[in-house]
Amino acid sequence: MSTFPSSTIKDIAESVGIPNLKDDVATSLAQDVEYRIHEIVQEAMKFMRHGKRTKLTVDDINNALRVRNVEPLYGFSSADPTRFRRTTVGSSATGMTELFFVEDEELDFETILSAPLPKVPLDVTYTAHWLAIEGVQPAIPQNPTPIDAKADLFNKRIKLDPSATATQPVIPGIKPGSNGAINNTGNAANSQPNNANSSNGAEIKPLVKHVLSKELQMYYERIVSAVLSQDEVLRATGISSLQNDPGLHQLLPYFVQLVAEKVTQNTRNLPVLESMMAMVRAILDNDNLFVEPYLHQLMPTILTCVVGKRLGESPQEDHWALRSTATDILLLICNKYGASYHTLQPRVTRTLLRAFLDPEKPLTTHYGAILGLTRMGNEVFKTLVVPNLKTYSTIIESELLVDGQDRESSFMEIEGDVASTIRKNEASHCLEALLVGLRSLIRSETEKQKYAAKDVPTAEGLREPLTVAIGPLLARNLLREEATQQNLAGVVAVIETC
């Protein structure tokens, strides 16, 4: 009957050097131990309640021991909750028993002494807010949203009453008479939907283990190895399978997880990144997959591939193509899901713009950002990028110029030379990307103004204002092109936006 079997007592006795404890002694000791433990826990609970806590702490137990005039337990109090580990003892013959124990780490005094002092804990502060104004809870950040609160309360209710849906109780006093019985069941029927209604919307999802069939598991493994393989054919097959096969929805979370993992682990490995982007593309292209719930997981990885500081082993590698692919995917997502998530595109745009406007960021990041913003459409480019062009062009210009000087003077060492070449390369890529954007913008602006009869100034006449507007570097490059010559009206529009 005792919670503490007498065998436990015997074990303990043995551990303190009493080999053969008599059975009756052990039994009566076990009873006493149970009583004592009950007593201590009862007292400790009082301390817990008065501490307005819902978890019993070691300090509570120690306080309880002190109240009972027992030496407190030393060495257990700690800010962190004690973690119990589980193990099983005994052979299969005697039956396995589960055993819980607190892990006792070995600590080295050296490390403790040399460790830096812990941070000073944050000071206790208070804030005041209106929980209710004349009985109405204002919608301020300090108050939970009504939906949250409802769901929260409901969860608690479920926890409290774990078997709410089980058999209904027999109510005395209502039993006699069929009338009463009907009443009873009627009430029961009424009250249960009530209970459910009170949670409206807050759907309770049972914690079901996600079971994957063997076939799916095998398929998953195959696809992963195929997509990551060196073999071009195999990879293409894998991707096309992802793109077209129905019935993959169960694997979707795993794929998404895989992409996220691989991208974060392999930012230096260009082929892997490319495969992953291909995979994302394939997932998005598959009409049978419902990707929406996973977008929040996918976006960061894609953005990494767009504006990552350094992608691939060496800067010389062709990471530009990867950035371009990733930008395409980004755009695809924005177009496909922008309608249902209004904040999606603005958020992406904001991230890119921030990357673009930060001069501290490397040119590779700038390139990705420019690429993204360019492809977002002319309107975005016009309003967000063009006004900043002048400032930005100076950065590129300086990079390009420095290179030239360096080469002439050739004071720099070989490595420096290589580095500067890379930087120059990067800068020219940025420049190219900007020009692409400008060209497209100018073309569209010209289209727009075709019907508006307006004086078209000469190219020479525009040179001056354009230089002022977007900086000499860009102006020079722009006016050099023939296409620009034909679309001077667009150039005017660009100047106007600045």
């Binding site: 009957m1 009950h38 007593e39 009862q42 009082k46 301390f47 309640r49 008065h50 501490g51 307005k52 806590r53 819902t54 306080n63 109240v67 804990p121 944050l122 000071d123 206790v124 502060t125 208070y126 804030t127 005041a128 807010h129 209106w130 929980l131 209710a132 104004i133 004349e134 009985g135 109405v136 809870q137 300090q142 108050n143 939970p144 609160a149 929260d152 309360l153 608690k156 409290l160 009453d161 078997s163 709410a164 849906t165 089980a166 058999t167 209904q168 109780p169 027999v170 109510i171 005395p172 006093g173 209502i174 039993k175 009443n183 009873n184 009430n187 029961a188 009250s191 249960q192 209970n195």
Partner: protein, 743 residues
Amino acid sequence: MPDSPADGTAAAGTGVNTQPTATTQPAAQQQQAAPAQTPQTQQEVDRIVLNYLNQKGYKQAEIALKREANLLTLEEQAAALAAKDKEAAGAATPAGPPQPTHDKNEMGDPDAYDQAYSSLRRWIENSLDLYKPELMSVLFPLFLHSYLNLVNRGLKEQASKFMASYKSDHLEMHSQDIARLSIITDAQHIKENELAQMYKSNKYNLRMAPVSFELLIAFLQDNKFIVLLRIVNQHVNIQVGAAAAGEDEVIGIAGHGTHQLATFNQQSVALGQMPPDAAFREQVEQTLKEEEALAGGDTIMNGETPASLLEEYKKVKTEAGVDSPSRDDVPLPPFKGSDIQAEIEALRDSRKRVALGPSSLPSICAYTFHNAQENINCVAVSEDATMMAAGFSESYVRLWSLNGEKLRGFRSNFNPAHIHDSNDLNRVKEKKGADSKKLIGHAGPVFGASFSPDNKYLITCSEDKSARLWSTSTLTNLVCYKGHNYPVWDVDFGPQGFYFATASHDRTARLWSCDHIYPLRIFAGHLSDVDVVKFHPNSKYVVTGSSDKTSRLWDVQRGTCVRVFTGHVGAIHAIAMSPDGRMMASAGEDRSIQLWDLGSGKRMKKMTGHQGTIYSLDFSQDGSILVSGSADCTVRAWDVKKEGSQGGAGHRILQDDREGTAAGSANGTVASSPVLAQGHGQGALGAGATAAAMERLNRKGMQAGPLESEDHLATFPTKRTPIYKVQFTKRNLCLAIGAFSGN
């Protein structure tokens, strides 16, 4: 000797034992024949010798022999018990004749009852809270039958002594029966007395969990309290196991209301307002008159005449009503000028008070502590909401100023000898001050804090067994009150200041005045920790809530308990009294709030809805709305006036049904937890079985808890902030304070 053999046999015969005492039964049955014989003859001899010595008056020898005989009998008592069991089982009764002789010897000792009963009582007193209520319930039948047996034996002196010393245990629950039985002093009376006969001829029904029952029997057997065991066998019917849902259960004797708490709760109480001191009244009126004369011109200019404060004051402070306590009951120090100002200020506040009701709910301002969830044990806010204090588990108290005024303590170096007046005192104060100050002095976690009504003092109590008085102007510790033997859980300043009450783990509450370092009154009676204490608005009473699931109303002047409120099924942690002093609300671990009528001691209604321990309660200033704060991170408002679930009987059944159904198999938990089941019996308020059954129903409904009762007005959830304290200001603004618990 009056203890006739017939009595013994008859009793043993009728004592049809329904209880499973007989874990030892089969073995005992076999042993019974052999060992029972020889010692019984030994007993016979002893008895004869004893009688002889008694007649000759050889007292010393008699006692010696008695002791010796007792020792001898120890071994065969078990056998005797087994024999009794065997008889009870309905077997033939060959052991009949020797049985009474043995018992007679045991029972011949007039002190046996006293000794057995008192040690059982002590043992129960020290048992776990978990089992205590169940074990306590067996004390009354044992007490009653011990007394009747003593009387029956003609031991008048012992009987009256026994009655006198243990009567007080049962006065609350069984005052009527005790009054009627204590006049019985003769065996003849017993035969004639209906009540005594009823107790003798009927079995007293009880319900116990298997563990409690085993503990009780083991204790009685280990200590060889054969006298008590006999009573248990003969007169008590203990049903072991959990209460089966739906079974009508009778505690005590069917058809006889054994629980007579209602009678105890009929003691007169004076719940009216404390009449103001005549001189004080005069002064206040005088001041008001002067002020009005000054303001007279203005009001004419404004063109509207607000009702004069003076008239209002006269209306509020009526002469002593019928049930007002006299001022002499609670002597207070003479009033000061600041008291008059405070009184007038209070009057003004009451004028600006927002009218609250079910249709106009209060505004609630929430103060949320950060970085302190594990550490803050209690919070208190001054009545005018200018200061807030929190008690920490790290033994210190922290004081915050809420109105932006800096708290200025003393500089660290000054010579007290140079301080002569308040100007000097101001000079040695810190120049800048701070928004918050730590008050250091306690040597253990601080569990309670309360501001004096004039905001000049703060009283705190701690695990270190002491209470400390702090000055809020000098920010220093003034007095340390030591008296409790165990951690002090709660402290409350009286509504007039000067007095305060503490509640402690030592099962007492104590009344103190600020100028004495020892307690003035000790309120003892609770069976477990006193967790919360609150003054009645008229200062004449104190209400305590305890882990023994009851709350009690104590008369401050007499130091006695005048009301017991039973009905909760968990420890009580929060108590609030309506400002008019007629109602009391209590709540705690069982998540329900119960509203009591202090005058009648009856429960008015029960309010359910909270899903965590309730930490704090407060009435609005007009007493129409009750607000509660709980561990479930919500503040809830309740309609005080609305008829609760205890209205008409039909209504009540419906209500129960609803709650019960919602409970689902929560009943299962009730059934498997015997303590709760027992709580039913303990708490039965009304007399009679129906009331008890109804009560139980309510209880079950409440176990299910979650559904809000009809008088629930609103829930205000917070973001993971358990609410430690709710409090209404004088103008009916509700403050709710808690510590953010993070993720």
